[in-house]
């Protein structure tokens, strides 16, 4: 008998604001412990929260992108529990009236199938601090730098039925929040955190008891963790056991999940409206003002890249994998007067992407700008350099040795297009290889490649390969 898998995700996305959601302290990552925690973040007596208005527009933006209802009146509540990283003894969050209501998102699986995943809601809340182990031997410290960092908790409907769907959804959301510019998406630094609720059932039966997999910081591990959790639950039930509602941690080293806390430990959070904060009122005008700033979203951009630029689906997907990548590409096309869009696309998807990956850089941090790369592509297009020489020029540009023109000039890489010079090289190579010439004339036409190689080598790669080819064919007739 088969099993049906039910998965819902809760995604915590840290919003890209300079200061915290309720205080003026910086949200920058990686500062010395507690150096970015002000009296409000520390929960000192008499301190009061003041909402950072920047989070409202960012939330509306996500809501619009998810085709969701925007909460015209959203309310902050207090979620009460004690933990050392929670300074006030309550988390300020939104419970009954979230800022973003029901929405949806379409995902596409590797095999091309598409599926709509419901988004239950997204609400604003403050992040907690962190426990620090090992700084003081035998004691646990608390770092409150992260306390008060704005979060949007994006809750999906339980619409996913495999680990692959869950990861496709998480990736799509990850791409979306970065496109919208509301979250930097850095999973290693915890800017984008995915909790998965996983349960299994027999088809047609009510929902099974779920387990929650928390704080897994890569898509690959999320997929593995969900898969082994599904297996664990099925094996457990088939061997006569029952799944208990609990939070489980994924252990990447041993590829297992283990229980962190069960429902028996669950708190009664005693939610109630926070009397220190007024309800957030959003008008239609506010929503329209945000809509006017809405960037082109990934799906629309991909479709346009295919229709407008004639790119393959694959190239379009790579070139729209981030907003920065897509902007870089569009600049490149403009700066090269759209003379050879395919060439631009090839350079972006191969040489440029490879260099970024090798050095672990984002597009924004690339040492070669769109203008710089365009300067090089223009030289390929006007036959000043060959594609092969271009790789050499690109590497030099990447190392900061100058513009394409400066490098071509300094290294003498300009392509030889002078017919006389090329003819001399052709004649020389043919004269030095009489037996190969014989073989060619006897019908071994593949020898042509050998001659081209020899001529290019003799020219230091600078001869125009097209011209070399033409001349060879003529001379060998």
């Amino acid at each position: 008998m088969s099993w049906e898998v039910v998965i819902g995700l809760e995604i915590h996305a840290q919003l890209t604001t300079k200061s915290k959601i309720f205080s003026g302290a910086s949200t920058a990552y990686g500062a010395a412990p507690n150096s970015q925690a002000c009296p409000i973040d520390i929960g000192m007596p008499g301190m009061l929260p003041v909402l950072n208005q920047a989070v409202i527009g960012k939330s509306i933006l996500l809501g619009l992108a998810l085709d969701a209802e925007i909460g015209k009146r959203s309310v902050f509540d207090r979620k009460n529990y004690f933990y050392p990283d929670l300074p006030k003894g309550y988390q300020t969050t939104q419970f009954e009236f979230p800022i973003v209501g029901q929405g949806k998102m379409e995902i596409e699986l590797e095999d091309g199938t598409k599926k709509i995943i419901g988004v239950t809601r997204a609400h604003l809340e403050e992040d907690a601090g962190k426990s620090v182990h090992g700084l003081v031997p035998g004691q646990t410290g608390v770092d409150l730098n992260r306390a008060g960092t704005p979060l949007l908790e994006i809750v999906s409907d339980p619409d996913m039925s495999s680990a692959k769907e869950a990861v496709a959804y998480a990736k799509k959301m990850h791409e979306l929040v970065q496109y919208l510019g509301i979250c930097d998406g850095n999973m290693q630094e915890g800017s984008f955190r995915v909790d998965s609720n996983v349960s299994v059932r027999r088809p047609g039966e009510p929902l099974g008891t779920r387990a929650e997999l928390k704080n897994i910081n890569s898509f690959r591990f999320i997929e593995k963790a969900i898969e082994i959790e599904i297996e664990r639950q099925i094996e457990l039930i088939e061997s006569g056991g029952t799944v208990v509602q609990e939070t489980r941690l994924y252990d990447a080293d041993n590829d297992t999940t283990r229980s962190m806390r069960t429902k028996e430990d669950a708190n009664d959070y005693r939610y109630f409206p926070c009397p220190d904060l007024l309800p957030v009122i959003i008008t239609d005008e506010d929503i329209e003002a945000v809509r006017a700033t809405m960037p082109e979203l990934p799906d629309a951009k991909r479709a346009r890249f295919v229709s407008e630029f004639g790119l393959s689906d694959y190239d379009a997907a790579v070139l729209t994998s981030s907003r920065a990548m897509a902007e870089f590409f569009e600049q490149l096309v403009t700066l090269t007067d759209a003379k050879d869009i395919k060439l631009c696309a090839n350079w972006m998807t191969s040489g440029f992407s490879a260099a970024l990956n090798r050095d672990g850089l984002s597009v924004e941090k690339s040492p070669v700008s769109a203008k710089g790369l365009a300067g090089m592509i223009v030289r390929i297009l006007d036959n000043s350099i060959s594609g092969k020489i271009a790789k050499q020029v690109f590497d030099a540009m990447w190392k900061g040795e100058g513009t394409a023109d400066e490098i071509i000039e300094a290294k003498g890489l300009k392509q030889i297009t002078d017919t006389g010079a090329i003819e001399a090289l052709v004649d020389e190579v043919l004269a030095n290889n009489p037996s190969q010439v014989e073989a060619y004339k006897a019908g071994q036409t593949k020898m042509l490649g050998y001659f081209v190689g020899q001529i290019m080598k003799a020219s230091g790669g600078q001869a125009n390969p097209g011209q070399v080819n033409q001349m060879l064919v003529a001379k060998l007739k």
Binding site: P39, I42, G46, N80, R270
Partner: protein, 485 residues
């Protein structure tokens, strides 16, 4: 004697050079030295800070750069955070707490150049009506040392009554300015919710807490409120409106004023002598040209039960930050995290505070939230609507502040419900967020009795006008207990 002057007179004499701020401040410090060991109205006295601030004030006065309140000392309730000076909230939990910041009110009064005499005693975390629940011991009523001064701002009321400060800050969550003002024979006003910033005031029940002045007279309160009130961007519930001049209406005639007197306020449980004093005071104001109309506040009995669900609910969360982690009391040798939480809080909080945290947590817990918290919110709206309706028929409402004069120390400390019911006239005002004034109106059983004047939102200037006009024809506010004269 300097301590019998009004604030305006003090200010004039400071500018005229008749005495300096240092002399004035020292006068109060000497009186504190002489009387406070017995009275126990201050938790902390700050003589060095006071004198150095007085010296600065004298320089400003000499340079002609003085405001009306420059050089006049003030005592802060120990719930206002003061940079560098202990702020205990009268709790063992914060016996070691020194804030690295000032409450907004403290900042404003510092800017005025008002030397800080010290921090006054109160009920622990402002939870109480007698100032007996202080970790530092009960404050005595200057009129009768056997009596409580009221609470929670009992220390503040006592220092004004005894002449140990010319002005004091108080906070009023369910009557904590007005009831001690009544018990100690002084003037105190709770402004409209949001008129004075709550920033830096240790929260008890955030949607009720409101700070205000405690002084000898309505005129003094008007000057002090001018300095305390105003929009503060650090408090989201602070009202974004221009701060009026609260002294501007002081001299206005009361001709044509419509006084609403709710019959419900003079029913069972009200001490007959208190009733007589209040009625006589209302008659006095009527004689100034005002008119009495009957109004009804039919839901007044819902106020106390509503308040004792909502205030503890808010408090239960507000006081969670006192967990032994980052500041305040931590128990000795905790076994583990849970032990640290439990013992730090059990040992650091007093009985009444623990009672209210438990009541509040209960009212918010799963399965009870609708029956308690939501129901109480409904009652709160009903009580507010009563007032709004009543103000269609009158300009202000008058009645008693408390059903009795000051009770004896120890008399009600074992009977919390009876203690809670002593706030039945003041609590409805906090539920509605309205402004209200208590002015001395006479004596019952030789203990002071206040007249309660409640107005519509933002009617502080009107309330102070009425108080001031009443004080032009009466002298209750000038009386001092014999030993403190």
């Amino acid at each position: 004697m300097m301590h019998n002057l009004t604030i305006k007179q003090m200010s004039e004499k400071l500018r005229a050079g008749e005495f300096t701020s240092v002399q004035l401040t020292q006068h109060y410090l000497d009186r504190i030295d002489k009387f406070d060991a017995e009275l126990n109205a201050y938790i902390t006295v700050t003589p060095e800070l006071a004198i150095s601030m007085a010296e600065e004030a004298d320089k400003r006065i000499a340079a002609g750069d003085a405001e009306l309140l420059t050089g006049i000392p003030v005592a802060h309730k120990d719930i206002f955070c003061t940079d560098g000076v202990k702020t205990s909230c009268a709790s063992k939990m914060l016996d070691n707490f020194i804030a690295p910041y000032d409450a907004n009110v403290v900042t404003l009064l510092k800017k005025m150049g008002m030397p800080i005499l010290g921090k006054t005693n109160m009920d622990e975390f402002a939870m109480g009506s007698s100032s007996e629940s202080s970790y530092y011991g009960a404050t005595k009523n200057p009129w009768d040392h056997k009596a409580v001064p009221g609470g929670s701002s009992g220390g503040a009321a006592a220092v004004i009554a005894a002449g140990l400060a010319p002005m004091a800050t108080g906070t009023d969550t369910g009557g904590s300015i007005r009831q001690p003002a009544s018990f100690c024979g002084i003037t105190g006003i709770k402004p409209t919710y949001g008129a004075v910033s709550r920033f830096g005031i240790i929260a008890y029940a955030s949607s009720f807490d409101q700070a205000g002045p405690m002084t000898r007279s309505a005129e003094d309160s008007a000057w002090m409120l001018n300095a305390m009130a105003g929009f503060d961007e650090r408090d989201s519930t602070s009202l974004e409106r221009e701060t009026p001049d609260y002294t501007i209406e002081l001299e206005r005639s009361l001709k044509g004023l419509k006084i609403g007197v709710p019959a419900e306020y003079f029913g069972e449980g009200l001490d007959s002598e208190v009733s007589d004093v209040v009625k006589a005071a209302i008659a006095e104001i009527e004689a100034l040209g005002a008119e009495v109309v009957e109004v009804h506040l039919p839901n007044k009995d819902l106020a106390v039960p509503s308040y004792y669900v909502l205030a503890p609910a808010e408090a239960s969360a507000n006081l969670s930050r006192f967990d032994g982690m980052r500041f305040g009391y931590r128990c000795e040798k905790p076994n583990d995290l849970e032990d640290l939480y439990k013992r730090s809080r059990s040992e650091g909080f007093g009985e009444e505070v623990k009672r209210r945290i438990m009541v509040g947590a209960y009212a918010l817990s799963a399965g009870y939230y609708d029956a308690y918290y939501l129901k109480a919110q409904k009652l709160r709206r009903m009580v507010r609507d009563d007032f709004i309706k009543a103000f269609n028929e009158c300009d202000v409402i008058m009645g008693p502040v408390a059903p009795t004069p000051a009770f004896n120390i120890g008399e009600k400390s074992d009977d919390q419900v009876s203690m809670y019911l002593s706030d039945l006239y003041t609590i409805p005002v906090n539920l509605a967020g309205l402004p209200a004034l208590s002015v001395p109106a006479g004596f019952a059983q030789d203990r002071p009795v206040g007249l309660h004047i409640v107005g519509p939102y933002f009617s502080e200037a009107k309330l102070l006008n009425i108080g001031h006009q009443f004080q032009q024809v009466t002298d209750w506010h000038t009386k001092m207990p014999a030993q403190y004269q």
